[in-house]
Each structure stands twice: as structure tokens, then as C-alpha cells.
Amino acid sequence: MSSITDLIRKEIENLSTDATRTNVGTITTLADGVAKVEGLSKVMFNEMVEFPNNILGIALNLEEDSVGCVLLGDTSSLKEGDEVRTTGKLLSVPVGKALLGRVVDAVGRPIDGKGTIDSDQSFPVERIAPGIIPRKSVDQPLQTGIMAVDSMVPIGRGQRELIIGDRSTGKTTIAIDTIINQAKINKQGEKSGDPDFRPVYCIYVALGQKNSNVARTIKALEEKGAMEYVTIVSAPAADNPANQYLAPYSGCAMGEWFMENGMDALIVYDDLSKHAVAYRQISLILKRPSGREAYPGDVFYLHSRLLERSARLNENSGNGSLTALPIIETQMGDVSGYIPTNVISITDGQIFLETDLFNKGIKPAVSVGLSVSRVGSAAQIKAYKKVAGKVKLELAQFRELAAFSQFESDLDASTKARLDRGARIVEMFKQGAYNPVPVEVQTAVMWGMQNDFFDSIAVDDITRSVESLKEYLSTQGKEPCEEIYNSGKLEESTEQQLRSALEDWKRTFS
């Protein structure tokens, strides 16, 4: 009891007794989470303003006679004529390691029922992206644990790689797999006691999603033991557009803390199509002029200023990084839509997921022709580069030949061989959800494919054989994988070890 009274006494002692000066205004109109306020002559752009009943808003439109504010709470208690006050502060969110393992809303308030967040630092939601000088080229890999991605569209720390595709094609699964893989690598690295090990912390921004979907994602992360490295920022579909508009920026501020403190972080924006829709709603209510598809003119800037905040910083700036995996949902596979083309041009590549492939059971349904990583190959480890170098070309050739071979009855031997190899690679890349594969095992499997170990196995049996090999490599045939993990290279001696391990495995596989 005495500690409580002490706490209150301390608060009273710390309370300023000076006169306060605030700039005020009155609500003139209120609709759809946006208030028009008259007065507030000294309000700043993006400043937090305070409405009655501790409801916060942000000044987004500074007009000649009025100020347009988006509201960040329940607006049912507000009415015309209510007083609005400036706060002199930009909207900030708590940052730091205290947020790991927590689920927060768009303004960083906990919504997981695990109590308050013990964070003494906060970052403004809107910040200027790092300039040219503190940046550095991407040179460290960020393993997703998905063979099709790590081999054909490798991602580096600090890269922005878009995941794009129609609804229900496995976009979120790729992002969640990547997060789970980071947690696995983090645990392995921490266990090894390597002082140079750099864990990757993750932020998952769930935007405009159903609460049930967010709950499912949290459950999957908890089951895989990944939650301790993850912060989830949730602005579900039922949340007001202002919160949905803010959530990615809040998540980004949380990620920037890791980057600026010399750590590595990964942020997933799931998804930015809904973000653009939320911003369109706000803009239309604020009566901003609308352009193509009724989006406001600055919808490109909306995403470019967000994604530019992901970067790889150089040694003088702390050597941290923030990798971004924005997600965009396309309609009927149309990548030439307004928002998809905007985000494609901002990011450093994209993973395009095809509905047809997904429906054929090829999961992850990565389209070889349309997926690209512009900077990631520089970050691939040498061993992986050696075995994965030709895969993309082989698979692209296979897709092309497969389309033509439908009309041909007689195929020459080389075409047949290419088709055969392609079909096997496709089967090899099939991978279940939430089951990332370590990079050293991926290297060994790919090496096996390159060295014809799967040629004698029927195409329908490839997936089963790959699973069996993975199992073998993580139990009996560990040595070559450990060698690859430690050195990052594929020396001749390692290749010899791999050869004998794969021969052993093949004898046991039936």
C-alpha cells in the first residue's frame, strides 16, 4: 500500500505547476473517423491532437480555414463543437526489445492481455529514411528457409523484396516461414555462442486482416517457438482506416530501432494493397483530389517513404539493417495494376506467386519468369551460389519447353532430358507450410540434384525422396552439412563427403 502512495506522491511532485499554453480549435464536422476542426492555427503537419475523453488524432490536412484530423479511437463520444487541443508532439510509438513477443495496435498499445510494455524509448512514427551516406550494399543473406526462394530469388539483409500474387496463393505463408526460419537460426546461433552471430528480429504488420487470420498467425508462430523474436502490429479490418494507415509506419519505427542500434530486423507488411485502400478512404473523406482508381496523387509517396526506411547501414552507422517484405494482393494475376506497379518499382525485386501453379499443387507457387531479386544474389553464401546458379535458368527453360512439348509427339533426347530435369526440380522445390529448411541442407539437396542423384527416382517420388534426404542429412549425414554451415563454402573435400553421404542415403531409400 505504501508503495502505491509513494508512487502517487512521486507523480504529484514531478507534475509541472507552470501555466500551460495550448492551441485549441473546435470540431465543425465529424464523419467516418475524420474530423474537420476550426481553429488550431498553430498546429503542425502530422502533429498529434487531443480530443475530449483522451481520444487522439493526427492533423493531416492543413487548410486555409480548417484542419482535417484523422481520429485514432472510438469517435462515438465526440460531437460537433467539442474542443480540440494541440499537443506539440508527433505521433510516437514505444520501441525496443520489450516489444518482442508482444501484439500491439497501430499506436503501440498492447492488445495481447500480457500487461503494459516496459519500454522507456519511443520513436516517431513518421521519420526520414536514411540517406545515401550511411547506407551500404546488401552483402549478408537473409535465409527464408524456402528452397525455391533462397535458390532463385535470394534475399539479403536490408533488401526490400515484394511478395505479390492473387488471394490464397501462399503470400502470407512465405512471410511466416521466413519469420519462423529467422527464429530457428537465432536459436541455433545463440546456442552456438558465436560472438559474431547477428540475430534477426521480426515485426509482422497485419493490416486490414480478419482477426481470426491474425490469431492463426500468432498461433503458428507460438507453436514454432518464434514469438519470442517477433512483434506483431495489428490493425485488423474492423479497425478504423486511420489505424490501418498508421500501422506500417509504426511497425517500421519499431524495426528502425533495431537497425539504428546495430542489429538486424525483418519487417513484413501484410498487406500494402489494403494500406493503399485505407489511405484512399481517408483521402476521400478529407476531400483530397483523387486520381487513378480514386487513389490520391501521393499514393506512390505513401509507399516509397515507407519502404525507403528499410536499409542496410554501413559500419560507421552501426552496421544494422532492416529488411522489408511487403505483400501486395493482385486481382486475377494482373501485375500491371496501379498499386502493384508502384510497389514493384520501389522494391528491389519480387516473388510472384501464380494461382495456376498453386492449384496444380506446386507450393510455394513461385513463378520463375516473373520473380526476381535485384540485389540478393550478392548476399548468397558461396556454397549455395555454386549449386543454385543454374537452377533458375533450367527451370525457366523447362517451363518454356513444357508449353511447346504439348504439341510435339516426337521429342529429341536433349529436350527430353531438359524436361525430365525440370520436372524433378519442380518436385524438389515443393515444400510444406511452416517447415523451413536450413541453408546447409538446401545446399546438399541441390547438390544432389545437380549431380544426378535423383535421376533414377521416378518424378512422382521426388518430393518423398527429398524429404527423406533432408531427414537423413539432419540425422546420420550431418557432417557435410556442418562443414557447409561453418565455412559457407563447398570445397572439394566437402563434395566428397556429400557424395558418400548421398550414396549411403540412396542405398537406404526405397
Binding site: 505547476t17 501555466a19 499554453r21 495550448t22 481553429g39 498553430k42
Partner: protein, 132 residues
């Protein structure tokens, strides 16, 4: 019907015409403006008059301070407050003093969009926010 940009600009111009050299609203000028509007009857006269009234009210707030006080000593402070405000303002100010028991003690001054407050109720509100 929302006001057009043209009507807003006209209302602002009318306000400028209503001001004296000291920046105060002149009754005579306002009467003259109203008379001329009555004669010329521009399109959207009602909207223009409403906007004009709004501009006049907002302008009045810039030189008319409203002092709310709580407690017994508050009223005595009004002269000192007016003196201080006049020292910091480029134009002569008017003052309205109102007793507001909700403040408990202290005072709250509003001049234009600015509010200066040093009252018990304000301090209690701040304290409440620290516990939320």
C-alpha cells in the same frame, strides 16, 4: 450547400474592409458593407453573410480575451492579466471575466486559438493522464 472558394475569398475581403487602423472591427464599416450587399444581392448571399459573420467572430477572438477563474481571488487578478496581455500584444485587448467553479482555483485565459491555463482542474487532469 458548401461555400465556394470565391465566396470564402469575398468574405475575407469584406472582413478586411470592416477593420479600423487598429485592427478592430468598425460598426460603421460593417453597416455599410451590409447595405451594399443588400443592394447588389450577389449569388449565394446567405452563404456569404454566414461566412462574413464567421470571419467577424473569429477576428473578434484575436483581441477579446476571455478569462475564466476559480476561487475567491480570481476576479482581482483581471486587471493584472489585462495589463500583462496588453504588454505582449500589438493591439489593445478587451477582457471578459467569468467565474468558472469547475476550475476549482486558478485561471484560464483564451485569446484567439491560444489557451493559457494554470488551474487546479488542469493539474488534476494532467495527473489523471499519467495514471492512464
Amino acid at each position: 450547400m458548401p461555400a465556394t472558394i470565391k465566396q470564402r475569398r469575398l468574405a475575407k475581403s469584406l472582413l478586411q474592409l470592416s477593420l479600423s487602423d487598429e485592427g478592430r472591427i468598425k460598426r460603421n464599416s460593417v453597416e455599410e458593407i451590409l447595405e451594399s450587399l443588400r443592394v447588389s444581392r450577389p449569388t449565394g448571399l446567405v452563404t456569404i453573410l454566414r461566412l462574413f459573420l464567421h470571419q467577424i467572430r473569429r477576428h473578434e477572438y484575436t483581441y477579446h480575451a476571455r478569462v475564466e477563474y476559480g476561487g475567491k481571488e480570481g476576479e482581482k487578478l483581471s486587471e493584472k492579466i489585462l495589463e500583462k496581455l496588453n504588454q505582449n500584444s500589438s493591439k489593445a485587448l478587451d477582457l471578459t471575466v467569468i467565474d468558472n467553479p469547475k476550475l476549482i482555483a486558478g485561471c484560464k485565459i483564451r485569446l484567439g486559438d491560444d489557451v493559457y491555463e494554470n488551474s487546479i482542474s488542469d493539474r488534476l487532469n494532467k495527473l489523471q493522464k499519467t495514471f492512464l
